[in-house]
């Protein structure tokens, strides 16, 4: 069988090319300039082996389909995030997949590139432990639009997550969204003109610090929702962030939980326990600088805890707030209080300690099943409670911090 033999020989050559184990990690460089650049980029992400770096050359990729990475310990490194000089993954013509880049492997390092105008989410990582998002830009370049994708940077169901020096603009849900994860740091990042700037949802142990959340509908959200595999969000510290001018009208599709976030919200804590909000600089948040609420929708999840508990607010700077409260009845309350409501708003459910020297308004709705129309707004003094012991702060594995040094 001469030609069968030949074919077999060709196959064996191919085996040798792909089965050889790497002596050292290698760099796979991909150029945006070739006609088959998209396929070559996806191919590189598939053929990379643990330890390898996929290097994105400078230029613009016009991508029609989502990219994905499923190999552990791979670095994806671009030449920068700026138009004209960086590595730009442009999804304006996307025809398929729910996100621009999907990562499903551990120890991945994403750095120094931009993801633009995806139809769904920007970059999603699922069950991807020890992932590092670093110096990335995820943007919907036309600014806030209901047709923009939901999440910019979206790690979910992961342990050890670092988001560092990321810029996200225009997400129709949350710019930076960490869901159902554990041991998380979001720092030195900028979230602007999203519905929610930064959102920590159904997650345990997170530090959100030194970020700028500006011109979103709501700046920083700490949420817990029912009927999900991981719930009972707790131990979240939101500190030393700049949270100002969150004034973008809510552009989320109705039904989504963030569609209920009032325009002009600084930090919003819902149905979590042990959340510390301290050392932040707040200004120009028309509804409230800090809002603490229960989950007030119908739900029948016996394992779900809808109340905020052990929330601590201290040592924050409060600029102007409460001058345009964008919730039902807010304008009337503001008018009755001389034009503005206090910078800290509590719906009256659960418990919180507020040590900031600004007034607190309670809606006096301790039972989350009571409709908001029955609110009895009145100033509240939450400074008398005993704050729980301070949270220890998050430490990530050294291997992760080393990547961004």
């Amino acid at each position: 069988m001469p030609f069968l033999g030949l074919r077999h020989a060709a196959t064996l050559a191919f085996v040798a090319a792909f089965a050889a184990s790497p002596v050292t990690a290698k760099t796979i460089s991909v150029s945006a300039g070739t006609p088959d650049a998209n396929e070559k980029l996806q191919e590189a992400l598939i053929l990379a082996e643990p330890g390898d770096t996929v290097e994105l050359g400078a230029g613009v990729w016009k991508l029609t389909d989502g990219l994905s990475l499923d190999v552990d310990n791979v670095t994806v490194r671009g030449a920068g995030t700026k138009d004209g000089e960086g590595s730009i993954l442009d999804f304006s013509g996307q025809q398929g997949a729910g996100e621009g880049l999907l990562v499903t492997s551990d120890d991945v390092f994403l750095t120094n590139f931009a993801v633009l105008n995806t139809r769904g989410d920007g970059i999603k990582s699922k069950d991807a432990d020890r992932i590092v998002y670093h110096q990335l830009r995820v943007e919907w370049t036309a600014g806030p639009k209901a047709t923009n994708g939901a999440y910019g940077v979206y790690p979910v169901e992961s342990s050890d997550v670092l988001i560092d020096s990321v810029y996200v603009r225009g997400a129709s849900d949350a710019g930076i969204y960490v869901g159902q994860s554990k041991n998380i740091i979001v720092r030195d990042s900028i979230a602007t003109e999203n519905v929610a700037g930064i959102e920590i949802e159904n997650s345990f142990d997170a530090d959100v610090h030194d970020n700028i959340a500006t011109k979103n509908t709501g700046g920083i959200l700490v949420f817990d929702l029912p009927n999900l595999p991981q719930q009972g969000g707790h131990n979240v510290r939101v500190f030393e962030n700049i949270v100002n001018d969150n004034s973008t009208p809510n552009f989320a599709p109705k039904g989504n939980i963030v569609a209920s976030v009032p325009t002009g919200t600084g930090v919003l804590v819902m149905a979590n326990r042990n959340v510390e909000v301290f050392g932040n600089s707040f200004d120009q948040n028309g509804t409230a600088n800090v809002m603490i609420v229960g989950y007030r929708y119908d739900q029948k999840d016996p394992k779900y805890q809808p109340l905020p508990r052990a929330i601590v607010v201290r040592d924050n700077q409060h600029g102007k707030a409460g001058y345009a409260p964008a919730f039902a009845g807010g304008a009337e309350i503001a008018a009755a209080m001389g034009g503005a409501i206090p910078p800290i708003l509590w719906d009256g459910a659960g418990d919180a300690v507020v040590l900031d020297t600004v007034p607190v308004l309670s809606l006096n709705l301790p039972d989350v099943t009571t409709p908001q129309s029955e609110a009895k707004p009145a100033p509240a003094d939450l400074s008398k409670g005993t704050p729980p012991a301070p949270l220890p702060g998050i430490t990530l594995p050294e291997s992760m911090e080393a990547k961004v040094q």
Binding site: R119, A150, P253, K254
Partner: protein, 341 residues
Amino acid sequence: MKRAVAALAAALLLASGASGGAPPRVDQALIDGDAMPPKLSAFGLFAANDPARPVASFAYTLNTPLFSDYAEKHRFISIPAGTKAHVREDGTIDFPVGTVIVKSFGWPDRDGGRPVETRLLIHRATGWTALPYIWDADGQDASLAIAGRRVPVTFKSPDGEAHSIRYAVPNKNQCKECHNLAGVIEPIGPNARNLVLPAAMTGDATRLYFDNPEALKPVLPRWDDPKSGTVQERARAYLDVNCSHCHNPQGSASNSGLFLRWTDPVGVNYGIGKRPTAAGRGSGGMDFAIKPGDPDHSFLIYRLESLDPGIAMPELGRGVVHKEGVALLRQWIAEMPKEGG
């Protein structure tokens, strides 16, 4: 010269056993190794590389198949000689190492029904590997497309409507997105509750490939055959096959909390009264995935009727709306009693 070529060809056919001698055999060593050969023919899964002549242990169908842009699929399995599959308690099938599951996709009215692509799921010692092959323009062989590709195709759906789409052949990772169970690749289709063996394959023939063939009980109704089940049963079969490979607690959509397996309880986690979690634009401005009695306000329907990548479900493998499938789900939701169902 012409005659010499013909004679040589005849000799080759004889040598490869295509006329008379030993039946064609798959290249088991290649299957068992870790190569990703650039040409499908290397595996020997088709006699004379003819997609109509599979070298199979057996062909199979499914009671309710996954919708893939109205593609007609031809499926077969090659199990290494002397080994047997075992049906597990939960209905999944433990295929021996060396098994290849082969699925070819084409349309009856396109190119004489010749396949556009053939996907392999190979059980190697290291686990299952998914390899997508696209048939070459001359139809003589298929080439590995590890990064996937969009292929323009034109066909008519059963209602007579003409479709011209850029059909998406999945890349290797996308294969895994659907076949992912707790991080590893698993077969989906061949499952005891859905697998249908050829009518001629009975008793001993089945026992040749399964050590407990009595456990093969295709209980799933045919989604499009009212005689095979109630509307609810057929809707649930449809959701199981089209959605639950991701929408289960160990699947790619585990974080959604929406679980659509045949065995899942029909409650909040089945979508009934379930609010959007990370649906984004997929909610379409609606409050619930399924609102009993009201398919027009059930965003599960909205997502199945959309072609926008930020909205459409399933996320992969669908470039047209499956009108007949959606009609069944609409009927199911419409018939649910309102107020909690």
